[in-house]
Amino acid sequence: MNQYHPFILPFFIGFLAMLVILFVRYALWFRGFSKENRKRIAVGLFTTQTLLAIKEVGAEALLHLKIYRTNPVLGFMHMSLAFGWFLLILGGKLESWYFTGDFTNPVWYAIFLRYFEPDSTHLMYHGVFLFFMELALLMVLVGVALAFTKRLKKSILRIKNTTRHNFGNKMALYALWLIFPLRLLAESVTTAAHGGGGFLTASVGVLIPQSWAVESELYFWWAYSWSLGLFFLALPFSRYLHIPTEMVLIFLRRWKIEPASGFNPDKGLQAFEVHSCPGCGVCLDVCPAINKTEIAFQSAYFVNQVRRGNGYEQTSGMCLNCGQCDEVCPVGINLENLRHQTRSKIFNQASFNHSWMPGSMVFWRETTEVVLFTGCMGRLNPQTTLAVKNLLNEAGVSFIHMDEEESICCGRPMMLAGAAESAKKMMDRNRENILAYHSKVLVTTCPICYKIFKDEYNLEIPVLHHSEYLWQLIDEGKIVREKSALQLAYHDPCDLGRGSSCYEPPRKVIDSVGQLQTLSRQREKSLCCGNNLGSLSLSENERQNITANTLKVLTLDNPDVVVTACPMCKKTLQRQSQVKVTDLAELLWETHPSNSLKFSKKIEKSRFLAEVK
């Protein structure tokens, strides 16, 4: 039985080259793992985590369930390409095994089986194999057709933006598109020449005259082999490297590998993460800054730049760090962290000296129930601070306003800029100051501070955002309000919502004084106000574009007041909004029976001003 023909060479050489390059690259990345991480791999290998990882590979790398959940059509496209191809490879191997009775037949024999064995009618169950293989091929072809449509008309796949690829990635993409139509053609021509074939190849084969098919059969197999070879050769250098890398990453995650600090896109876990990005573009549509800036800095582009090793210096500083892409990434790449690490590399020369910071060496201070921390942005919103204080007084809670006189920044802005060391010093000083009060709870009005207090400070007392604390006071009946007919739109601050998963308490507070509106982008999907401290180099103009878009979403149903829970968001939205923007503490205080008349007049005034404008 002949199992060789020169046309298999392009495929086989490409395939071998891919294996060698992959092996070398992975070996280099594996060398970057620390000793502890290597131990974790060795231990994890023989636990149930490995089995769970295999299950996850099936669900994510083949079926793409996460993408399916966010966008069924897009998920179906990825699934039919990946799972269909997997079925083709698996089916081809089983079929060739069945044909020869030898499992160890050459790789190319299984791939180009239809050329070597055009007629299989002499075998039992040959129809089952044929049907299975051609069904898988049809599945992949549907995927390719969808992928092609995606490039022509995005709206059919229910997306607004698709990733723009560079030259290398485009070449790999075109090679991938060609593989399966060529396979169909080659198999159909062989069917036309020698008979046999399943429902797909036989139907196409009927259209091809036999004499022509016998003559030109080989050309199609050559072309199919070339497209495969080119794709495999391009794979380790293009975004398609994500196909094998994502699978390895799933195993590494299951084995609980700890990420190393610092920016090392060619070492250890970070290398696997960065190269797992398929550039699928799910992060594009959700980004609040998409099409609002001169340079596209979205994660799909940013990760690609990190991989290439240039261009990321500019884009990493632009991102607002709102966390939206991190939330939806189907591969689960830790994009926020990657940005911080990149910034720590870019600004590694920046030096800070905060030896001037006030307050230290306090062993005892007057005890109180609540320590109130309003943060830097609280200073720009004295009304919010005043409202919170009034509310605490109304509820009869004893409190101390910690940073009324001297305030130290919580350290998160420093952290977002990649200067973790300097941030740590500020955090230590703040921790000393907070714990010196021996209070029962720390309440902060700023979500930026809230997130870092909760995640990094390791305080011994509970940390609450003022929305949580106010809701508790309302729930306990210490603050009583009547529900009015006010239409209220709530803006989820990034650091409170996605950052700290605090969605309900502010909504409950707002719902207790008015009618909370449902928005098209809320909770996990809420937009950034446009001034997140994450962004370093976004220009004023670009920020304003983002804010305008966010306001459009917020004011779609003509709310009386836009409510937020972040002094930064409030200040930013206020600048451009026609509708009154307020913090929920102010809302709660101004709906107090003694103030409500004044409040309704304020709303009337802002409405009048909006009409005049």
Binding site: Q349, W356, L533, L536, M568
Partner: protein
């Protein structure tokens, strides 16, 4: 040294030679943060600044230093910043102050 006489004093005589004061570094900062050129020196940033309450940090002044090539003064003052961003919210010209401070404190002599 400047000496005090009759209620006023002479400033030190300073000549600024931009060829000596590494204009590439300065141009690099201005290139990476062009919004610095929009600064009108109104002083809002300094009025807001917590670090400026305790130290000499005045951002509008840093910007002037930058254009005069006073690299040492910049390094000395910029390192006090906490990057909290209050200044940026009050800036009427939309200068990316936090980014500028990061770039300024990265300047090496």
């Amino acid at each position: 040294m400047a000496g005090t006489k009759f209620g006023f004093f002479d400033a030190n005589v300073r000549s600024i030679n931009l060829d000596v004061e590494t204009p590439e570094t300065i141009e690099g900062v201005l290139h990476r943060e062009p919004s610095l050129l929009k600064c009108i020196g109104c002083g809002n940033c300094a009025a807001m600044c917590t670090a400026g309450h305790f130290t000499d940090l005045r951002f509008y002044r840093l910007n002037l230093y930058l254009k005069r090539g006073l690299v040492n003064e910049i390094r000395k003052e910029a390192q006090n910043c906490m990057l909290c961003g209050k200044c940026q919210l009050t800036c009427p010209r939309g200068v990316n102050i936090r980014h500028a401070i990061l770039l300024m404190s990265s300047i090496r002599p």
